[in-house]
Subunit: 236 residues, 2 copies
DNA sequence: CGTGCCGTTGACGATATTCAAGTGCAGTGG
DNA sequence: CCACTGCACTTGAATATCGTCAACGGCACG
């Protein structure tokens, strides 16, 4: 699904109304976009950290354990600006991988400093950080307290609302390019168990999920099932 | 265990060497300390967000589910400065509770802005944010991928190293005021299973834990057991 | 026409939860 | 001084949830 206006601008303006010069400063960044093929890494574990904005596509942050177990610790969707302080890191312990064919912008520390000199942009960027932290906090609750089906239901609610907030979901429909293996890596479950849990959600008519598209016939019911409370996303 | 110098200064100076005026700006904050009794809330769910620095004691961030299940999503130890952008939040979906009798400093948004005008302090504060995010990311891996005993081992390694970085742990000893119920709320397990898992760690001589004190006879062994890799803490 | 990835299914086993009862200890008040 | 209470922790037995192993089908890609 296409985003009506530029997703990064839409995302930044969810809490702060930007001036024309603010918008220009952001748009100037897009002159150096970077395309990344699905499955390729933007940042490899061990490299230096970088700040990104997602113009198009989905990005996953992955952490690898010594024995090969793997966890997706964050998902970045169109419009997200993330890892604002990462340039301080000399060697990352995570990697960033494109879930779909994606377009991103790298933001250097000097560019970031200039953006932060504009008060409204500074505030908008603070909201970005706040959102990332709130989401990862909510994911902790998800992994710690919810059952398998609840975790998946919660994740799908979050994805739907995050996409909707930049105009990329409506009428209960949105893209959902995550494979079941990836859902497993997000939710801390096995592929097999994700498959079974999804079947349960389908059989209870809570979701329809096929060929990379998700349909939620009754969002309220899915939210209740997944003990989902939207306020952590700070949508207005 | 007492911190040799002021824990907040020690913490901020782990990555950045502060000037005398930087240190004065921080010390000025301590004129308005706030004492909180063990078990009391600093911030209640629904209130406005605030920025804090921990002078003394341990603080937990808690999230409550609709059905009463509860998760601790962060622990703040002496020296930590946290929730730097929280003043934007009108109503929190979490609460902050003192684990032990504690002393904290509230930092207002205007104070914060003044601190951020000093470049070294700004950088030190960025490191604080980076650390919080890295820890919550690592906790996601913990909940998603590790077994019960591994989770607890990992948590104890983290606590030990975080305390040691501000001089509050040495020779394998540190404070450990968390009850087993709290460990359960951090690790997403039940109290009962935490009790059994701790017994396993004790029987394998990986830890000695009693009366609020932790002893780790062989840190390397405990780290290996818990698949702990310290680099996410960015200690030098 | 293979090959690899994604998803599904079944049988079985491991891990963690639930329920219930009981201990030790610190603090309280008669 | 001693019962009484609440809290932290422990233990056992039964159960549920989730993981592991293995096999199979469909589909896209070269």
């Amino acid at each position: 699904m296409k985003c009506p206006q530029h997703p990064v601008l839409a995302h930044l303006q969810r809490h702060v109304r930007l001036s024309a010069s603010d918008r220009n400063a952001i748009e100037a960044l897009f002159q150096s976009c970077r395309k990344v093929k699905s499955g390729r890494e933007l940042i490899r574990s061990g490299a230096a950290g970088k700040t990104f904005a997602v113009v198009e596509g989905w990005i996953a942050r992955e952490s690898l354990l010594l024995d090969g177990r793997q966890q997706i610790t964050a998902l970045f969707l169109p419009g997200d600006v993330f890892d604002l302080n990462a340039e301080l890191i000399a060697d990352c312990d995570y990697s960033l991988r494109a879930v779909t064919d994606s377009t991103v912008v790298e933001i250097s520390r000097s560019q970031l400093r200039r953006l932060k000199d504009q008060p409204r942009l500074d505030e908008a960027l603070c909201w970005e950080e706040l959102e990332q932290l709130a989401i990862s906090t909510e994911w902790l609750v998800n992994l710690g307290q919810r059952s398998a089906s609840e975790r998946i239901a919660h994740l799908l609610c979050e994805i739907y609302l995050r996409l909707r907030s930049v105009g990329m979901a409506r009428d209960g429909w949105c893209d959902m390019p995550l494979t079941q293996s990836m859902i497993a890596e997000v939710t801390g479950l096995t592929r097999v168990h994700v498959s079974r849990s999804l079947q349960r959600l389908r059989s209870e008519e809570l979701i329809h999920l096929e060929r990379g598209r998700l349909r939620i016939p009754d969002l309220v019911r899915l939210e209740e099932f997944g003990l989902f409370e939207a306020n952590y996303l700070h949508l207005t």
